[in-house]
Symmetry: C2
Subunit: 663 residues, 2 copies
């Protein structure tokens, strides 16, 4: 089959691909980022690119005539049919994103990290003391209280030279894992005090790696980035679909490992880190333990396990607790013999990230009854205390991450993150609606992120612009109009936005690239967008409600509500309650634990007890499957209003609404 060269601009990266390959896959192969929410199904329209050269093009409704005139196509469904040059407009490129790298959960009581370091001043062998190198290490470790330390074959290969190069005076790193002691590193004795590990939060959208000093428990530095798998689809279902394509699983595993390795590279190049070490340039070798926390699909993809049955009823993962894994088996760029512990998952849709949240919140060991909510690309809820734990998946949908909303976007530069409205009387019946907003990075807006959408809906609702069902009222205003998908409300007019202005690159005959701005667009929210957001909030609320009822509790019984994840961190809680996303209970009961997935991974890395607790949580926690639950369906339907069909559940909101009505 013919091969063609695809060159991506402005990256100026080239790749050779077979005829018929999609431009999106060519971009993955060239390590060039193009947005793709739907994972290559041609449905989201986020992967617009401009092409020069021969392609077989799939004409989409998502493209205008002007687009076609400008040779704009969707990268995921357009196939290479000759040597081509592809210009990626700004809007199809990843933006640096707000990623929460802090957790404010509990702390470990006693440091007992996954690896321990020992200084072993071994007696040099002699004819009288002629035990093998391996037994010599075991004997010395036994003297230090480490019984029956194991070494695996791949490690034994270099043992003889390591011991002799260090003249029998060495540092040894021992990993305690699955109740088994294993030597994972032999190094100069000077490195005994330098003892580091990684806690990794593998999110569907973002990945955070924290470098942890295992001697002090301190987080030395954290780095975050997008999960490179995003090009294969934004949510777990899109990823699972992609995994079923030929080579898909391999690609997904490669991409997540590349994401992590890139962050490892950044962390270990950091001055802050390297200056703690006596020798430069070998930081990676010193990382001998890793804890990874991710949802069940992410954990499967990280380990290269086929996720397909996660998607199909009855939703069975290959594994929920994972065997001891070596970094070398995943080509993770730590010490190749480093032990990797993956947080145990409860089920296909309550993953290791939730186990980590529970650890970080400490709810599993307290008397008080607590609810934990994690709204990310997926949503999960847990209730419990020291006596019991029950969990469910909210199947929330990606509305708060920018999906299913026309001008929705992730919390990156140009996203509207705060909104306030005032409604004044204008000419005649006309209302003069003023919109005040704040964008991330303080540039003209490109779209609205999750916290902005919550603000927007709450303001629209409280100002009577939308009704209880979320429909835009028939108010005479320049901001309210009939659009292609029903009524829409203009949040920002084209002249104030930077969205829609694809900066399109044209290559002139002289080879020079010139940029041309296309016409801007109004940023609007439509009836249909609002319905999608309401469905998402209804799903979260109904899930929590069913979870409580299943255990014979109501929201009133709750002593505490933990909100985990970046989303919870950035939103205006009062407005979220006003919409009926979260229960209307006293604000002092809310506790924000930040990135609990990362926080829990760090706890497990630092404490043997915490790893035991994680395994206990796995065994103890009930899982309630909502997809076939009638109670859930009723609760969901009741929650499809603002804030809820039963206003009695939202007393403070009721008060606000009645005071508004009185005005």
């Amino acid at each position: 089959m013919a091969e063609f060269t695809v060159t991506f601009q402005p990256d100026n990266k080239s790749v050779k691909v077979k005829q018929g390959e999609t431009i999106l896959n060519a971009a993955i192969a060239a390590d060039v980022f193009i947005n793709s929410v739907c994972g290559g199904l041609g449905k989201c329209g986020k992967c617009r690119v401009q092409v020069e050269g021969k392609i077989s093009r799939w004409d989409s409704e998502l493209l205008s005539e002007e687009d076609r005139d400008n040779n704009i196509c969707l990268a995921c469904v357009s196939k290479v049919d000759g040597d081509i040059e592809v210009f990626i407009p700004e809007t199809s490129r990843a933006q640096k994103h707000q990623i929460l790298t802090k957790s404010t959960g509990i702390e470990v009581e006693t440091l007992a990290p996954m690896t321990r370091k020992f200084h072993l001043a071994l007696p040099a062998p002699s004819l009288e003391d002629n035990i093998s190198d391996y037994e010599r290490i075991k004997r010395a470790l036994k003297e230090q209280g480490v019984d029956d330390a194991h070494m695996d074959l791949q490690f034994l290969g270099s043992l003889a030279s390591e011991l002799r190069e260090n003249q029998w005076d060495v540092g040894v790193t021992v990993s305690e894992f699955n109740g088994k002691n294993e030597v994972v590193s032999i190094h100069p004795k000077e490195l005994v005090d330098k003892h580091f590990g990684f806690a990794i939060d593998i999110g569907t959208t973002t990945v955070v790696v924290s470098l942890i000093d295992l001697n002090t428990g301190e987080t030395v530095a954290s780095k975050s980035n997008y999960n490179k798998q995003i090009v294969c689809g934004e949510d777990v279902l899109a990823r699972i679909n992609y995994a079923e394509e030929e080579g898909g699983l391999f690609n997904l595993q490669r991409l997540i490992v590349e994401t992590i390795n890139y962050l490892i590279e950044e962390l270990t190049l950091d001055d802050e880190v390297c200056k703690r070490r006596p020798k430069e340039g070998t930081c990676k070798e010193d990382i001998t333990s890793v804890v990874a926390s991710g949802n069940t699909t992410m954990t499967h993809l990280f380990l290269g396990l086929d996720p397909q049955h996660i998607r199909l009823e009855p939703y069975i993962p290959t594994a929920c607790r994972f065997p001891a894994i070596k970094a070398r088996d995943l080509v993770l760029e730590t010490n190749p013999h480093a032990s990797i512990y993956c947080m145990p998952c409860r089920s296909s849709y309550v993953g290791g990230d939730i186990t980590a949240d529970i650890l970080a919140s400490g709810l599993y060991k307290k008397d008080e009854l607590a609810l934990l909510i994690d709204v990310g690309t997926n949503g999960e809820a847990v209730i419990g205390n020291k006596d019991f734990l029950a969990s469910c998946s909210c199947s929330a949908g990606p509305a708060f991450e920018g999906g299913e909303v026309q001008f929705g976007m992730r919390a990156s530069v140009g996203a509207i993150e705060k909104i306030a409205l005032t409604v004044l009387s204008g000419k005649g019946d006309e209302k003069d609606i003023k919109v005040y907003y704040k964008t991330i990075g303080k540039i003209p807006p490109k779209g609205i992120c999750g916290s902005g959408l919550i603000d927007l809906l709450a303001e629209l609702f409280i100002n009577g612009i939308i009704d209880k069902s979320g429909s835009i009222n028939d108010i005479p205003s320049s901001r309210i109009r009939d659009g292609e998908e029903g009524k829409e409300f203009v949040v920002a007019f084209a002249d104030e936005t930077s969205l829609g202005k694809d900066v399109i690159a044209h290559k002139r005959d002289d080879g020079k690239i010139i940029l041309k701005e296309s016409k801007g667009k109004d940023i609007v929210i439509t009836d249909s967008d609002i319905k999608n957001i309401i469905r998402t909030k209804a799903s979260v609320y109904a899930s929590c409600s069913v979870l409580l009822k299943s255990m014979n509790y109501t929201f009133d019984h709750l002593d505490r509500v933990y909100i985990a994840g970046g989303f919870g961190n950035y939103i205006d809680m009062k407005k979220a309650i006003l919409l009926g996303l979260f229960p209307d209970i006293p604000m002092k009961k809310y506790d924000f634990i930040g990135n609990g997935s990362l926080g829990g991974a760090r706890l497990a890395l630092l404490s043997k007890d915490m790893r035991a607790e994680a395994e206990k949580i796995y065994r103890k926690m009930a899982y309630i499957e909502l997809s076939v639950n009638n109670m859930f369906y009723n609760e969901f339907t009741s929650a499809l209003f603002l804030p809820h069909t039963d206003l009695g559940q939202f007393p403070t909101v009721e008060k606000i609404l009645s005071s508004k009505t009185k005005n």
Copy 2:
């Protein structure tokens, strides 16, 4: 660097090698066998080949003028300098060899093999019973009494499809190793009754693989062959030297794995084996446990561990007990997840083969005081009973395997294996010495193997042809003459031998290969050969003597002597005692256990208790280093006579000699 093609005849195999590569290494790369005793040092002269084409040639004293005229060179020191054709004469090719594949040691009491098979009729998952595939297997195994069964990542990858393809009704193989239960195979339930493992004896010279039915303990079939590493040197020191060359260790590991895989192929293709299985052609997949027994160097090379410190004082191996190893890590062609247990070694020169001998003899659990002697390419001795064990290495040298003796050879076709002499009066002072011999394969003799050498020396001694020190007496006889290396005794004259007649291949201009026999040679034994054999026997006897003395015993205290290994099986014990190789104690105390290395490996494969015993033997057994032992030096010197300086230690020999003198 230039590359040239080397073609080997009569195999007609070609290989491309870099300029300057030795012909021997080219042969290894082409998988063609050429004898090499010294391992490429140009010292043994066993790798004679005839070359057409350009080589850079190293002129050796081992080559005659006639050889040079015939373009004969030593393959190990001649380097490729153009496209060449290499003819390998019959004498430089491996001969099929007598390999002992039977052990007559003890039997296991209760079958408890390294792997167990279970039939698991799993409930299909449902929304109510939605644990992961991994947990489903663990739960079902727990019901069958197998706690906390582990699976490793490489295995988990295929778990989901295996379970679904077999509709949840499966057979499962569980390995119990290092106290850990591990699932190593999922298969159709019909295969539960088909349960096999391999016991492997990795000898320096020969390798034996036995296919064992783990349900019955029966040895289904055994196959044996040379260790392909022989081309890299005949004894462990030559192999260690070779391992230190660039790529040497890798080559040695590859060659032993190839040797084993070849035997596996033969065993699993065997009708006898395949007819026991419901499906053909998948036999290898069913082999899920392997026990390998070899000396310390062989075990290191099998596992790819650097053996160099075994050779250097204080003789420290990397490991003596070995971690759980997977077949896939060694590319062994069993089930890739099969567990491999290597018999523990006591020290650099008392290896896993001796541990296996001890197991097979049962001496470790008996009241009676026993001595165990294993004379192979190396020699080892053990004394003990149920209360103690002590061992040493005899550093015997390869005289009994054909090394260090001019016309010595291994026990293959054409080797003289039995000899008797009569001495009659001839003309005048002349003696008419008649030599009666029997060759393996009943063809004209090519050389003398170990058992033949023992017969020969005993007959020479008893007939007064050699004296107590092994020097050939000045007897007028056509068989006794002065040779290049002192006196020599002609065992067979050129006209009765087939040795020395290199069958040399010549390629004519028309491309046809014609064969020409070179002039034959007398088969002789020289003073120097005899001294080498006496040194070997003295070393074995002195080692046993020192071992006993170290524990305050003498040979008279022995209740039993176990002779292990092929050599012991084929020799005439009375003649061996006459020479002073073995102690002069009642014959009924001698017990021949055959291939104890293989027998012990089989016991370990079949019995958990036996594996525990092997580990106990490792911990319990003392090791006495003779290389620096003064007592050994004295004993050795005293043993450098036939049968011994102290004839009192050999009462039956004394009687024979005195009766001879009377005649």
